[in-house]
């Protein structure tokens, strides 16, 4: 009799423990997916801002047609990206193209003094920051999730219930690893 009670109690404790771990993994996975959507929101915003910028500077930068086309092409490619690694690479190329555009824009005084251009620069700089911070948040939460699904004993639950590994963002462009060459800060000191 006592034996049966003990076995039942242990079984109940094990089930409760399993439920606890399962729920924690679900919570982390949801947070991770939410973080991923946040990146998407910011990327979309960036893609929406770029045509505005290109149209605003087109008149003044008539001779830089190649640069403008390169930006629009990079944008088009970035919009078709799938998965963190692919998106990381294509967004990186877009960042480079934009960097070149801003560097060239410095040569046009009527652009640097233009309030619209300054605002667009601020919006784009901020959106790039937001993408960076959203990735940072995603990487942090995805790392927590990956650790949770790999460590013993929660891996006993994660495996059978199909908690797959989360892909992390990495710097893929060698150039991105370097210090950015373009100074987008608009602050006059």
């Amino acid at each position: 009799m006592l034996g049966i009670v003990l076995v039942l109690a242990v079984a109940a404790a094990l089930v409760l423990w399993g439920i606890g771990i399962y729920n924690r993994l679900v919570g982390l996975r949801n947070q991770k997916e939410n973080g991923w959507r946040q990146i998407d929101v910011q990327l979309k915003r960036r893609h929406d801002l770029i045509p505005n910028l290109v149209n605003t500077v087109r008149g003044a930068m008539e001779f830089e047609r190649d640069t403008l086309t390169a930006v629009m092409d990079a944008r088009a490619r970035a919009m078709t990206a799938t998965g963190p690694a692919d998106a990381g690479a294509k967004e990186g190329m877009l960042t480079q193209a934009l960097g070149k555009l801003f560097a060239l824009a410095e040569n046009y005084p009527q652009l640097t003094a233009n309030q619209n251009v300054r605002m667009l620069q601020e919006e784009l700089a901020s959106t790039e920051n937001k993408i960076g911070f959203a990735r940072q948040f995603y990487n942090d939460i995805a790392t927590t999730y990956n650790i949770a699904r790999e460590v013993f004993p929660s891996n006993l639950i994660a495996g059978p219930f199909g908690f797959g590994p989360a892909e992390l963002f990495q710097i893929t462009e060698e150039a991105e690893r370097q210090v950015p060459a373009v100074d987008l800060s608009i602050k006059k000191s």
Binding site: Q115, R118, E122, E123, S126, N129, K130, F133, F137, K187
Partner: protein, 327 residues
């Protein structure tokens, strides 16, 4: 300390503060019963119940609306109102930048975006208030916008976002609400003692017991000390949280040097921030009273300081940075 431990520590402190508060209020109410309403045969401690009820209600009101009254006392304007009223392009640009920076830090912290307010004051300062991340506000002076670069502003906003994420704002709002309630109660019981004074003497004459006298003595001390204790508590809690918020803020931006530079700039503007009253000093990123704080901590003078010495905070941030400061 990681995030969860910090939040747990804040929850513990919040409960502790509330327990001390209930004891203080019950003590004040009991004293009221013994002194003012003494002599009758009533079993119901009217004074105690009334004290708990009134101060509880006052504290609850303070908890729900404390952030609004703090913001009102600094004459803060919602960012979007300020943006539509902005005259110069430069101001509009600064305000857009502030809005963006708050957005960025909310994303980095994984929190909903707090309400953004602008304080019309030329001295650089900032604070956060609210009761939880869903009901939080960040207020920044116009002087801060004019003084700091974008990165430095980001550091300051990250520091404020850290206060929100660590639930420091809730602890501060609770402390402020309770301190306000105690102040009200102390005032209230001091008044009632004046008109109930005769009752007390009669009670003492009729030999109400040494216990009653001891209670009265303790109660009188409590009336005097209650507001002071509440203030000291708010100060002690605030100082320790500043270091943690600096560290958490640096973790959000991964750029501790920007916050260090911002603190240096804020520090060099030693002028007080007139728009921010003494009552909300402990919320700010830098002491708005413009006091020069001693470098040593824990001395008597510093017991009254709302913030740790700025030089120590800057030094702590510098050690977090990978590279020594350029130039």
């Amino acid at each position: 300390m990681n995030l969860l431990e910090q939040q747990a520590a804040n929850r513990r402190r919040t409960w502790l503060v509330m327990a001390v508060f209930v004891l203080l209020v019950a003590g004040l109410g009991l004293g009221l019963d013994l002194v003012v309403f003494a002599g009758g045969d009533r079993v119901v401690p009217v004074g105690t119940l009334a004290a708990l009820g009134v101060s509880g209600g006052q504290a609850w009101w303070g908890f729900r609306h404390g952030d609004r009254s703090v913001l009102r006392s600094t004459a803060a304007v919602p960012l979007h109102d300020r943006l539509t009223a902005a005259g110069s392009e430069e101001t509009r640009h600064q305000l857009r930048q502030l809005d963006n920076v708050v957005d960025e830090m909310a994303i980095a912290a994984g929190l909903p975006k707090p309400a953004v307010w602008v304080i019309p004051d030329a001295d650089p300062n900032a604070f956060a208030t609210g009761r939880d991340p869903e009901h939080a506000s960040i207020a920044v002076t116009e002087g801060l916008l004019g003084t700091l670069s974008r990165d430095e502003l980001q550091g300051v906003v990250a520091h404020e976002m850290a206060h929100i994420r660590n639930y420091d704002i809730r602890l501060m709002t609770v402390v402020a609400a309770l301190a306000g309630a105690i102040l009200l109660l102390a005032d209230w019981s001091a008044r009632s003692m004046r008109w109930g004074g005769r009752g007390r003497r009669r009670d003492a004459d009729s030999g109400g017991g040494g216990l009653a006298v001891v209670f009265v003595a303790i109660w009188l001390v409590a009336i005097v000390l209650a507001p002071v204790l509440g203030r000291l508590l708010a100060l002690a809690v605030s100082r320790r949280r500043e270091y943690l918020a600096d560290a958490t803020g640096a973790q959000l931006t991964r750029n501790p040097m920007a916050l260090a530079n911002a603190l240096e700039k804020i520090e060099s503007a030693v002028a007080p921030t007139p728009a921010i009253k003494r009552g909300s000093a402990h919320l700010c990123i830098a002491d708005p009273l413009g006091l020069q704080i001693d470098q040593r901590e824990g001395t008597w003078a510093n017991l009254w300081a709302t913030h740790p010495p700025m030089a120590r905070r800057i030094a702590a941030l510098r050690t977090m940075a990978y590279a020594p400061p350029a130039g």
